[in-house]
């Protein structure tokens, strides 16, 4: 009897300190994640003079002036409008072409399917630096330079493969019997696809849309190369401000905080799919 209590008590005693180290590690890691973001927010609430003056850990006189500058100055807020315009165009375009293709990959065997699937992956992995110059020349020669559609099309390079892979990962989880039953019931393919199939993979479509949005939103090199004035994204406006002299740190930080907001808003809803999305639907 005594030995039983001992064996039961021993693991409990061993788990207790382990849980504590776990918590410490987690808290330290989250602090490491959050302190840089806190610093950005803190500086966005200060005037430039306060930032460059005394060094403080929190804003002494918090002010929203920096945000006011961005939201009232056309050259700033148009950056957000431009970014959102091409990101939305890209997301819609990517999903529209990726949905039928992902269905084909998940359901049918056809000539060259594996090669095509692999080739899509290589485009997801392609370094934007390789494509920067050819894109610049291609879109200049067809008169699309400095338009939203040029950036949206350029970003399909990595977003269409991403959407196809993620959607395929979700679609293979839907049993094929559903398709067959629907065809027996007399559904045509488009009607079946829109009415029955798409609701079934709604979360997959949401995740794919989220990742298309994110990857287009965070990309700088291609969007900067392909735009000059009219379609200039916020990211590129920010880097140009950095290189200029007499830099206003407060406004720069406020611009940075505003670019984080779209991701931060939806992240809660996709929290369980982040790994799946980054792993191209394969986790």
């Amino acid at each position: 009897m005594a030995s039983t209590t001992e064996t039961l008590a021993a693991p409990a005693a061993r788990t207790l300190p382990r849980i504590r180290t776990r918590h410490v590690v987690m808290v330290l890691y989250l602090a490491f994640m959050l302190i840089p973001i806190y610093w950005l927010i803190k500086m966005s609430l200060q005037t430039n003079r306060e930032i460059l003056g005394a060094f403080t850990l929190w804003p002494q006189n918090p002010t929203l002036d920096n945000y006011r500058v961005i939201l009232t100055d056309r050259s700033w807020y148009m950056g957000y409008v431009n970014s959102i315009t091409y990101v939305v165009m890209n997301t819609v375009l990517s999903l529209a072409v990726a949905l039928p293709a992902a269905y084909a990959f998940s359901r049918y065997r056809f000539l060259g399917d594996k090669h095509l699937f692999f080739w899509l992956l290589t485009n997801r992995m392609a370094p934007p630096a390789v494509f920067a110059l050819p894109f610049f020349q291609l879109y200049s020669s067809v008169g699309l330079f400095d338009t939203h559609i040029a950036v949206a099309l350029a970003h399909t390079l990595f977003n269409v493969p991403l959407a196809v892979w993620i959607l395929e990962g979700f679609m293979r989880g839907v049993p094929k019997e559903i398709d067959e039953t629907a065809y027996i019931d007399g559904y045509s393919f488009p009607r079946f696809f829109v009415k029955i199939f798409m609701p079934l993979i709604a979360s997959g479509i949401g995740v794919a849309a989220f990742f298309c949005f994110m990857f287009s939103w965070v990309e700088l090199l291609l969007s900067r190369t392909l735009t000059a004035v009219n379609a200039q994204p916020i990211a590129s406006i920010m880097t140009r401000t950095v290189s200029a002299s007499g830099l206003d740190w407060g406004v720069l930080c406020a611009a940075g905080v505003l670019t984080i907001i779209p991701g931060a808003l939806v992240i809660y809803f996709v929290r369980n799919y982040i790994a799946k999305g980054f792993a191209l639907g394969r986790v």
Partner: protein, 290 residues
């Protein structure tokens, strides 16, 4: 799932094919074109053959950039993979705190890359940045814009901050798929914590960890924006990784021939890694199907 042979499925993939051909094949052909020709302007080109490839392959500048790139990717993997696994093991398994951790950890992944650069550019400054100020307070002459070692540390810490969560989230997803019965069996066998990790958790995470390694390798191999914003590739060319060097060559100096040859070789490396990735993925799918 058993797939039906159906050649008409080609019609469903045709839009993707056309779109990606336009945004990938056409530009790549331009690159190939430049790689084998030379020009004195006026759009007059003449055949150059493999000259540019030879020049790039023997160029010290490219060798140096490649060396820096490989060193960077190696350091990144050596830090992020073990750290990510450790964090995943420490994460709460379920409940509110699991969600809180997931959301907070994923935040850096969703920040635009240039803002990531801006954040660390500011943090490292001795006058206004928390990290730089603290280090200066400790008596270290911290200057990432002048000291190559400091520049490297900044860029590496920045990447660890930016991407470790991805490894952790992938490893966490792998851990979540382990049935509780395995742990119970281990407890009955009185397995130590290390043995549970070595014989239960690690084998179960193998697939996702391979994906994590490949993704991190690929993304660190083509890193551009973050170091570009923080250091601009400097001091000198201490942090000019392959992409930064390539863009400088192609868009800064308009050395189209060497830049194109460089691009093609870059792309071949990517192709090779993608193939490994693809094989891993399909093997994983097959193992899951069993």
């Amino acid at each position: 799932m058993e797939k039906t042979p159906n050649q008409k499925a080609w019609f469903l993939v045709l839009p993707v094919l056309i779109l990606v051909a336009f945004s990938a094949v056409v530009p790549l052909m331009t690159v190939v074109n430049y790689a084998v020709q030379d020009s004195f302007g006026n759009n007059v080109f003449f055949w150059e053959g493999l000259g540019w490839f030879e020049q790039v392959l023997t160029s010290d500048r490219v060798h140096a950039a490649l060396g820096r790139q490989l060193a960077f990717s190696a350091i990144i993997l050596a830090i992020q993979i073990p750290l990510g696994v450790a964090i995943a093991l420490c994460m709460p398994k379920r409940g509110v705190w699991a969600s809180v951790c997931l959301v907070l950890m994923a935040l850096p992944l969703l920040i635009p890359w240039n803002v990531v650069g801006t954040i660390w550019q500011i943090l490292g400054r001795t006058d206004i940045g928390l990290v730089g100020h603290t280090l200066a307070g400790l008596g270290i002459d911290w200057n990432y814009a002048r000291n190559p070692v400091h520049a490297w540390i900044t860029v590496v810490v920045m990447d660890v901050w930016h991407w470790t969560s991805l490894v952790a989230l992938l490893a966490y997803a792998g851990l979540q798929s382990i049935p509780q019965a395995y742990y119970q069996a281990a407890r009955i066998d009185q397995a130590s914590r290390w043995k549970v990790f070595r014989y239960i958790e690690l084998p179960k995470m193998q697939g996702v960890l391979l994906i994590a390694i490949l993704l991190r390798f690929m993304d660190s191999f083509m890193i551009y924006t973050e170091p570009f914003v923080v250091t601009g590739g400097g001091p000198g060319s201490a942090t000019s990784f392959l992409s930064i060097d390539l863009v400088r060559m192609a868009l800064g100096q308009f050395d189209l021939g060497p830049a194109a040859a460089f691009s093609i070789m870059y792309f071949l490396v990517i192709l090779l890694v993608s193939w490994v990735f693809y094989t891993v993925m399909t093997n994983l799918d097959r193992a899951e199907g069993k």
